[in-house]
């Protein structure tokens, strides 16, 4: 097995290490047996763990336990939300075939929506964003008003994964409520740093996943109002109030609940701590690479941006080259979403925000997390000037030879 040298991990938005407490809870559960659907003692015990985890997660998200539907992660939850709502709403009324979604959604929504358009006669209506990556409410309002009766669902992420821009979720809900259109929000990135009051926000459905919060990969939840009809994606067995069949692992959900609980408990101190680190990183970059451009909303906090993400354009550099050079020095960053990393095309999020092709390709996302330290930030700043110089030189060579 390859040993990783002591390194600087600044890619927490892709995935983050688990809380030791979550690992411990899972370890205990691993050693026990029981199918939560079985009626005997082992099954009942597993079921109790699942239900207690569900209650804790619901409490931390401002939802009722019966609204928490466990599934394999954020991607599945987003697929279930948008396809499930589309199918159910359209079978109730065939006129409802329009899906409204923002131009900066994660691929886990963009792709299922595109699939609905290609295979299920959905019409996609994309709402544009402003230069900071925030959904334009005026455009959304106009799109709804053009024909409220044909909208199957609206989806808007709570905070963007590349830029960290926080979306006006409450306002979107307000716009939709008048027409009783269900609103879903992908809160995968927001969950780590914002208070997600599901009931208070008035959302109809919301996605969260464990592994972005220091929980295990392989479990997430769709929080969905009970009254709302949604067509399942996975059938058979009828678990999770028939919305999601399949055996739910007690260890996974217990790890998820522990991670979310710790995340929320620590939010009031970890938010400011990580924001201070991020600001140290941003100010440092402005100092050591003066030509760098800091993207997104300059202000942090509710209504602005997440405290843990910095998105920076390095003019004249290829993001991929920067990523590789930093990686060689033991610093892990990203050019955007991990799911798309390595795919040589500019991010749809940046293009939607009005970035040119070169700027979109010459950008990096730095994302901090619960294990980040000032030393991590300082190590990056120490390496960055030379790395940028090399990336620029490589870029120049490439543009001359091509």
């Amino acid at each position: 097995m390859t040993e990783i040298a002591p390194s600087v991990y600044l890619d927490h938005a892709a995935t983050t290490s688990m809380w030791p407490e979550a690992v411990e809870v899972m370890q205990q559960e691993f050693l026990r047996t029981g199918n939560p659907s079985s009626l005997h003692e082992a099954g009942r015990r597993a079921r109790r763990v699942v239900e207690e985890s569900r209650e804790l997660i619901a409490e931390r998200l401002g939802a009722r336990p019966s609204e928490v539907v466990f599934c394999s992660g954020g991607t599945e939850a987003n697929n279930l939300a948008i396809k499930g709502l589309y199918w159910a709403r359209r079978s109730a009324n065939p006129l409802r075939n329009r899906v409204l979604f923002s131009s900066i959604e994660h691929h886990a929504l963009l792709d299922p929506v595109t699939w609905l358009a290609a295979h299920e006669q959905a019409r996609i209506d994309v709402t544009p964003v402003d230069q900071q990556g925030r959904i334009r409410l005026d455009a959304l309002s106009e799109a709804i008003d053009s024909n409220p009766a044909d909208v199957a669902a609206i989806t808007t992420m709570w905070a963007n994964n590349e830029m960290g821009t926080i979306q006006p979720v409450r306002e979107v809900v307000e716009l939709a409520r008048a027409h009783q259109i269900p609103v879903h929000s992908d809160a995968v990135q927001a969950a780590g740093y914002l208070e997600l009051d599901f009931a208070g926000t008035g959302l109809d459905a919301m996605t969260v996943t464990a592994h972005k919060l220091g929980g295990p990969v392989g479990v997430g939840a769709l929080v969905i109002r009970r009254e709302l009809d949604a067509t399942p994606l996975l059938h058979g067995g009828g678990q999770e109030r028939d919305l999601r069949s399949g055996t739910v692992g007690a260890a996974l959900v217990a790890g998820f609940a522990t991670a979310l609980d710790l995340t929320v408990q620590h939010q009031s101190e970890s938010g400011p701590r990580i924001e201070a680190l991020r600001d140290r990183l941003v100010r440092g970059i402005e100092r050591v690479v003066p030509e760098a451009i800091i993207n997104g909303d300059p202000e942090t906090g509710p209504g602005h941006r997440l405290p843990n993400i910095a998105h920076v354009t390095f003019p004249g550099c290829e993001g991929d080259a920067l990523l590789m050079l930093l990686d060689a020095q033991g610093v892990q960053v990203s050019t955007g979403s991990a799911c798309q990393a390595g795919v040589p095309q500019p991010s749809h999020v940046l293009l939607a925000m009005g970035f040119g092709d070169a700027a979109a390709r010459g950008s990096l996302r730095f994302s901090l997390g619960h294990t980040s330290t000032a030393a991590d930030v300082d190590r990056l700043l120490e390496l960055l000037p030379a790395v940028c110089e090399r990336a620029r030189a490589a870029g120049l060579v490439r543009s001359r030879t091509s």
């Binding site: 890619d11 995935t15 009626l39 005997h40 990969v217 392989g218 994606l233 055996t247 930093l326 990393a341």
Partner: protein, 368 residues
């Protein structure tokens, strides 16, 4: 004494140990293009290669899923939805709900589903499949071994019949995996579903083997992981665990014969108490002994056994708590009352003569 291994098996120590580093220090996302990501990707590819070797297939033909239910759904819906020309499916009447319900869900898209009848022991004859096939049958889905009564289907023969009709063949091997030959060329199937937690991994991981020549529609769209076949951050620890568990089970080969002997002895002694065997006597999983107890309620037998520390079930865990009799037993011709007296014992290779004697003694008291 835990005799409900068909519902779920305890995670194995070796499996947990193999998973451990991927839950702790090596936590990278395999889609990330830096060292943490690369290390995770190597482990994922390695797990995939090991599993592919065991199934005798190409690594690209293994799709990791969240479990058996997702794998079955992906096979049934994914294959059918990609075949817009042929809109007929055949499933056996005794499939797991993951296959049955997935197939019936397709009816809303204009697909027609035939449920193939089974014999009294749950067996499906190649002749009956041949008769049910239509020119527009896109998929046949028949489980390798039944989860309730342990009946093993003649999969190679059935798959051969489907192939002659140019129809794809999927098998739910969730119960068979770990006991029966999983070599895909021997079986001649185009798709095969496996669940980890029946083999000794924690819950939350499974896989679908899918023939590369097959066109199919993914169920979960997004980041394009696993060549777009199944989006979502890959569960590296789960994949490593599944590869380890399958490897361990392959080493159990010789245990199957010993266990079958023990199973037959157990069946013989329980029958002597007035119980009736369900499922086939010979084409049967080595670890399954299932019965009906005429004149009794299955629930009460379970409760009495539990009081003596013996844990088993009436059948599928997924249907537990429902008053409906098992669809498997009714399809095999049992009437409702008799079907409701079902008790299933499923063990693993640690089952012994002593354990057998203990269960029989308990049953003797209960049935006496």
């Amino acid at each position: 004494m835990y005799l409900d291994h068909a519902a779920t098996a305890p995670p194995r120590r070796e499996v947990l140990e193999a998973m451990w580093p991927w839950l702790t220090q090596h936590f990278g996302n395999p889609a990330s293009h830096h060292e943490y990501g690369e290390v995770a990707k190597i482990a994922l590819d390695d797990a995939r290669a090991k599993i592919a070797a065991q199934l005798g297939v190409h690594g690209a033909e293994i799709i990791f899923t969240s479990g058996g239910t997702e794998a079955d759904n992906l096979a049934v819906k994914g294959i059918a939805l990609a075949d817009q020309e042929r809109k007929h499916l055949i499933v056996s009447a005794i499939e797991h709900p993951a296959v049955l319900e997935a197939a019936h869900w397709l009816e809303r898209f204009g697909y027609e589903v035939t449920e193939l009848e089974v014999g009294q022991t749950g067996l499906i004859s190649p002749e009956s499949l041949a008769q049910a096939l239509q020119p527009d049958t896109c998929l046949v889905s028949i489980q390798y071994a039944n989860n309730e009564v342990g009946t093993i289907q003649p999969i190679a023969e059935l798959a051969q019949v489907a192939r002659q009709n140019s129809t794809w063949f999927h098998t739910d091997a969730v119960q068979a995996a770990g006991w029966l030959d999983l070599n895909v060329s021997n079986l001649g199937v185009d798709a095969l579903a496996i669940s980890g937690h029946k083999l000794g991994t924690p819950k939350g991981i499974g896989l679908l083997y899918l023939n590369r020549r097959l066109e199919f529609e993914p169920l979960i769209h997004g980041g394009g992981q696993q060549d777009g076949a199944r989006s979502g951050t890959e569960n590296v620890a789960g994949a490593v665990g599944l590869a380890t568990a399958l490897g361990l089970r392959a080493e159990l080969g010789d245990q199957a014969a010993r266990l079958s002997g023990l199973r037959d002895e157990f069946i013989c002694q329980v029958e002597a108490l007035g119980a009736e065997l369900t499922g086939d006597r010979t084409a049967r999983l080595p670890n399954n002994a299932s019965f009906v107890f005429p004149g009794r309620s299955g629930e009460s037998v379970l409760v009495d056994l539990a009081a003596r520390g013996i844990v088993c079930s009436s059948g599928s865990a997924c249907a537990a708590g429902s008053d409906e009799p098992s669809h498997v037993l009714t399809a095999m011709g049992f009437d409702r009352t008799l079907a409701q007296s079902a008790v299933r014992f499923t063990f693993d290779e640690t089952f012994t003569e002593e354990a057998l004697a203990e269960v029989v003694a308990a049953l003797t008291l209960i049935c006496g």
